[in-house]
């Protein structure tokens, strides 16, 4: 009898039965998807990002479909950490899978305070830092687009908890490896790569932006090549595990991320196409490992790293 290959994965001290996280902001509280997907066959749900103060969120429209993807500008609608801890979180505890809290903020202090309170709760297995918010103090520069600011946020959050800390990186940078290294050095246990790519769409009938917030974040298969490269570059820069994401819809997509260097994956937008995607990927991944005679996922992670020989050219030439 052949043994079933293990899909278990460790992110810091967090142990997950499956390497599939449901992306923050894409899977609600799990309740909405519970009738449509088997939550015992996913790794964890990353909850919608929560902030220190309540946020009403952005005006409509918040979503635009684009070729092979979508733009969203939800604007972090959430009731704020007080209300969230008092009136909401206990309800999520009945989910049959681990829950990862997500923290967003507009100052280093925001992140630290919200992280501390969230991580203190038993319902929360780990915390993800969504560093893609603009930093109000430094003229709106996004934390995650600067290695120094990222490090500050991570250090502050790190000091508040021993639970696994995942830092979610922005792709809107020139050198994601630098941000990845900064996050690792500041104490991150894992990286989530990538958050959405900034974009915009215009209503050519009305002559105005399609999103209430003008700009939004692009997700879905359109950004997959961008995400795969980001994971590939980040994986070579750090030793901590990476949660790959950006347009994963199928086993093939998932394999691209594992081979690029991700230890786990996150599925967001694909749940809007078909909530059966995460279950299907787990089943097919198990079969794939078995067929290839691989005992676990570790055998895949980062194995695209062979490359070709490129004797006669300058490095990194994409013209």
């Amino acid at each position: 009898m052949s043994t079933v290959p293990s899909l278990a994965v460790r992110l810091g001290s967090l142990e997950l039965p499956y390497p599939t996280l449901m992306g923050s902001g894409c899977y609600g509280t799990g309740e909405e998807f519970a009738p449509l997907a088997d939550l015992t066959r996913i790794g964890a749900i990353v909850l919608k990002s929560v902030t220190r103060l309540p946020r009403l969120g952005n005006p409509m429209p918040r979503i635009v479909h684009t070729p092979a993807g979508m733009l969203n500008a939800i604007g972090l609608q959430n009731p704020g950490i007080d209300w969230y801890l008092e009136r909401e979180l206990h309800k999520y505890a009945e989910r049959p899978c681990k829950l990862i809290g997500s923290v967003a903020g507009f100052s280093v202090d925001d992140y630290a305070r919200v992280c501390e309170r969230l991580a203190a709760r038993a319902e929360i297995a780990a915390v993800e830092l969504n560093v893609s918010c603009p930093n109000v103090a430094s003229e709106g520069e996004t934390f995650g687009c600067d290695p120094g600011l990222t490090a500050e946020v991570v250090r502050a959050a790190r000091s508040t908890t021993d639970k696994t800390l995942i830092v979610k990186l922005s792709p809107n940078v020139t050198d994601i490896a630098a941000v990845a290294r900064a996050a690792e050095a500041a104490g991150a246990d894992a990286l989530a790569v990538i958050n959405t790519v900034r974009g915009m769409a215009i209503d050519v009938d009305a002559w105005r932006p399609r999103l209430g917030n003008v700009a939004g974040g692009l997700s879905g298969p359109a950004i997959r090549p961008i995400a795969v490269l980001a994971v590939y570059e980040a994986a070579q820069a750090v030793r901590i595990p990476i949660v790959g994401q950006g347009g994963i819809e199928t086993l093939t997509d998932a394999l691209e991320f594992f081979l690029a260097g991700a230890s786990a994956i996150s599925i967001g937008t694909a749940n809007f196409t078909d909530p059966r995607v995460p279950g299907r990927i787990v089943t097919e991944l198990q079969a794939y490992l078995a067929r290839r005679g691989l005992a676990d996922l570790g055998a895949l992670v980062g194995k695209a790293n062979q490359g070709f020989t490129t004797p006669h050219q300058y490095e990194g030439d994409e013209g």
């Binding site: 909405e32 918040r62 809007f272 078909d274």
Partner: protein, 272 residues
């Protein structure tokens, strides 16, 4: 709870008909869905190609084990659905949303439908007629050939008031003009483009008639998971999601999810 029967249904196309230019009626073999759906509910149609984003479509009609969808091919996703043929498989999530409240005691009811909004109100019309109400359908479209299915509503026992923007059939002008001219109903049910619904709300609020509006917005998940499809509601309304009190955030409204708290909202509780 509204979505208790929500499931993924594997259905089969039993008939495909074109009702007008770019207007398709798909009848599906979908016993459980047909059985569970109430007036004003919708489904998310999973694209057969697996390519980006399910599409929100009202359940137009149910009959025995059949459920039908009626849609206009406006973009990539509806084009893909329009390419389905009898015998093809189509997976759907549903039924979704709260649907219309047809339990009231209004004896004289107006249903207002604009364009594709007609797809959301047939079940509602049938139910209201069955409950003994007089049902007037105010139905507007851009042009005559897009005024589809009127006969279907007449057969169901509705009185018809038709309008077209270009005057090619019925009264020329907007359907809301016709509504305004008509004797005041005791209740209004409406579905159509947002400008039409805003006008219906004004008319209803001004005349003190309670109106239920089925709203539309670009959906992400369609099941309440992404907060992509919101509409501002008066804080105190029943459908408003729980949220910290007003002093904590500026604004006297809260965003509710059209897909989850709606798609049907009371006109007087909207803050748009």
């Amino acid at each position: 709870m509204a979505t208790i029967d929500t499931r993924v249904h594997a259905t089969t196309v039993s008939e495909r008909r074109e009702l007008g230019p770019g207007v398709v009626l798909l009848t599906l073999d979908a016993a459980e869905l047909a059985n569970a759906t109430r007036p004003g509910q919708y489904v998310m149609a999973i694209p057969p190609s697996g390519e980006t984003a399910a599409t929100a479509l009202a359940v137009y009609e149910t009959q025995g084990k059949l459920a039908s969808l009626l849609f206009f091919t406006t973009g990539k996703r509806t084009r893909e659905l329009a390419a389905l043929h009898s015998g093809d498989r189509l997976d759907l999530i549903g039924p979704l949303g709260n649907g219309f409240d047809c339990s009231g005691d209004a004896r004289d009811v107006a249903i207002v439908a604009g364009g594709v909004g007609i797809a959301s109100v047939l079940l509602c019309a049938q139910r209201l007629v069955r409950l003994g109400s007089r049902v007037r359908l105010f139905y507007g479209a851009r042009t005559a050939e897009l005024l589809i299915e009127s006969q279907r509503f007449a057969d169901a026992g509705c009185e018809l008031v038709e309008t077209t923007d270009d005057g090619t059939r019925g009264a020329p002008g907007f359907v809301t003009d016709a509504l305004e001219r008509a004797p005041r109903p005791q209740a209004i049910y409406a579905c159509g483009p947002t400008p039409m619904l805003r006008r219906v709300a004004q008319i209803a609020n001004a005349s003190g008639v309670r109106a239920q509006l089925s709203l539309e917005e670009t959906f992400g998940c369609g099941i309440g998971g992404c907060w992509g499809c919101v509409v501002p509601l008066v804080r105190a309304s029943v459908q408003a999601p729980s949220f910290p009190p007003a002093q904590a955030v500026n604004g006297d409204f809260v965003y509710a999810r059209i897909c989850r708290e709606g798609p049907v909202f009371w006109a007087h509780e909207l803050r748009w």
